[in-house]
Amino acid sequence: MKPNLVIGCGAIAQELVALIKANGLEQRLEVTALPAIWHNTPEKILPGLKEKVTAAQQSGRYDTIYIGYADCGTGGLLDRYIADEGLERIAGDHCYAFYAGQAKFAELFEQELGTFYLTDYLARHFDRLIIQGYKLDTHPELLPMMFGHYSKLVYLAQIDDPKLDALAREAAEKLGGLTYERHLTGYGELGEFVAQAARG
C-alpha cells in the first residue's frame, strides 16, 4: 500500500512531522516542504507548489496528495488550482487560523485589528523572516511604515517552551514595543488534517 503525501509550507513541516510521529503514522503519511520564506512573497507559492505536486504525481510513489497550506495570501488562486487538480488543503486563511481554530482566531481578530501573530516557527525564525526578510535590520526607518498600525503581538504557541516564549516577547519589543499575549493552542486543526491525510 502506497503512503499519502503532504506537500506543505516549511513553516509547518516540523509540526507535521511531530504529529505523524506522535500518532505512529510514518508508514501512512510522508511530508515534503516548500520554503517558509515564501510567507513574505505569496506569489511564489503556487508555481512552487505546482512543480512539487507534478513531481510527486509523476513519481508514482504516493496514493493521495494533500496540500499543507492555507490560503496563505494567494487570494483564492491556490484554491482554484487544487480544485482543478482534485486535491485538498487544510482549511482557513493562514496557519494562525488553523492553529488557533477558525472560531477562536476570528474572535482574536475582532478583539484587535492591529495584531501581529506568531507561531512557534515564526517565533523561532522571527529575525530571519521578518527583521532581515523585510530589511528592518539595515533600514529600521521602514518599521513604522510596515508595522506602525500594529499594537499587539499574539503568540500562538504549539508547544509549551519558555525559550520560544522569550523569543516571542523579544519580537514584540522589536516591532516597536507591542503588547504581548501568548495562547497555548497546541497543533489545533492541524491534528485533524494529519489524521485525515493519513486515512486518505
Binding site: 488562486l77 486563511d93 510596515m146
Partner: protein, 233 residues
C-alpha cells in the same frame, strides 16, 4: 565606496544627473535624490520637468521591477520614501507654477483592515504621476468613503485590502454608491494582495490594479476615457 569613487552630483551634466537620480531612487537614497532635485531646480528646470523626467521616470523603473518580482516591498518602500522626500521640495513649487493635474483620487483601506503599505505606495506613485490624492487611511467604513467623495469630488475612488476577510467590504461600498445613484460618477479601482480581476468585477469595481505602477497606468487610462466621454456628451 572610497572618496575617489564618490559621484559628485553637481558635476554631472543634466542627462547624467537624471540617470543617476533614477539609480538613486532605485537604491532608495533619499538624501541623494533630494540633492538631485535641488541641483536641477538650480539649473533652471521647471518643477514639473524634475517631477516627470527625474522622479516619475525613476519610479516607473522601480514599479516595473516590482511587478516583475525583481524588487520586493522593502526596496520599493525605500524608493518611494526617497521619491516622497524629492516631492516634498517640488510640491509647493508645483502648486505655485500651476503644473497640470491629471485628476484626483480618494483612496483608503477598507473597514477591518489596517494594512496600508500597498495603498501608501499607490498614493505616492499617483501623486508623483500628477494626481491629487486624498488618502483617508485605514479601517474605513463606508461613511468615510462617502464623506471624502462628497468633500473632494474626485474622478477616482481607490480601495485596498490585504485580507480575504476584509476585501468583501469593497462590495458594501460600491453597493452603497449604487443605492445613492452616484456609482457612475466615479472610476472605482481596487487592489490588494488577495484580489484579482474576477473579484474586482464581482464587487462592481471598474478595474483591479495589481500593483502601484499598474494603478497609475489604469488611473490615467480611465480618467482619459472619462474626460473624452464628458467632452462628447
Amino acid at each position: 565606496m572610497s572618496d575617489e569613487d564618490e559621484i559628485i552630483l553637481a558635476e554631472l551634466n543634466d542627462e547624467e544627473l537624471v540617470q543617476q537620480m533614477h539609480d538613486d531612487l532605485y537604491e532608495g537614497l533619499k538624501e541623494e535624490v533630494v540633492e538631485g532635485v535641488e541641483i536641477l531646480l538650480d539649473r533652471g528646470w521647471t518643477p514639473y520637468d524634475v517631477l516627470t523626467k527625474a522622479l516619475v521616470a525613476g519610479m516607473t523603473i522601480v514599479g516595473i521591477d516590482f511587478r516583475d518580482g525583481i524588487l520586493y516591498v522593502p526596496e520599493v518602500l525605500m524608493a518611494a520614501n526617497a521619491m516622497k522626500a524629492g516631492m516634498g521640495i517640488l510640491k509647493p513649487l508645483l502648486a505655485e507654477t500651476g503644473a497640470p493635474k491629471i485628476g484626483s483620487m480618494v483612496i483608503g483601506t477598507v473597514k477591518g483592515d489596517i494594512h496600508d503599505i500597498g495603498k501608501n505606495l499607490v498614493s505616492m506613485m499617483m501623486e508623483g504621476a500628477g494626481f491629487e490624492v486624498y488618502d483617508i487611511g485605514i479601517n474605513n467604513p463606508v461613511e468615510n468613503y462617502l464623506e471624502a467623495l462628497e468633500e473632494h469630488k474626485p474622478e477616482i475612488l481607490g480601495m485596498s485590502a490585504l485580507l480575504t476577510t476584509t476585501m468583501p467590504y469593497m462590495k458594501v461600498v460600491v453597493e452603497t454608491l449604487v443605492e445613492k445613484g452616484v456609482r457612475d460618477d466615479y472610476i472605482i479601482l481596487v487592489g490588494g494582495a488577495p484580489l484579482n480581476e474576477e473579484f474586482a468585477e464581482s464587487v462592481g469595481a471598474d478595474a483591479y490594479c495589481r500593483d502601484a505602477a499598474v494603478a497609475v497606468e489604469t488611473a490615467k487610462e480611465w480618467v482619459a476615457k472619462m474626460h473624452n466621454r464628458r467632452a462628447s456628451a
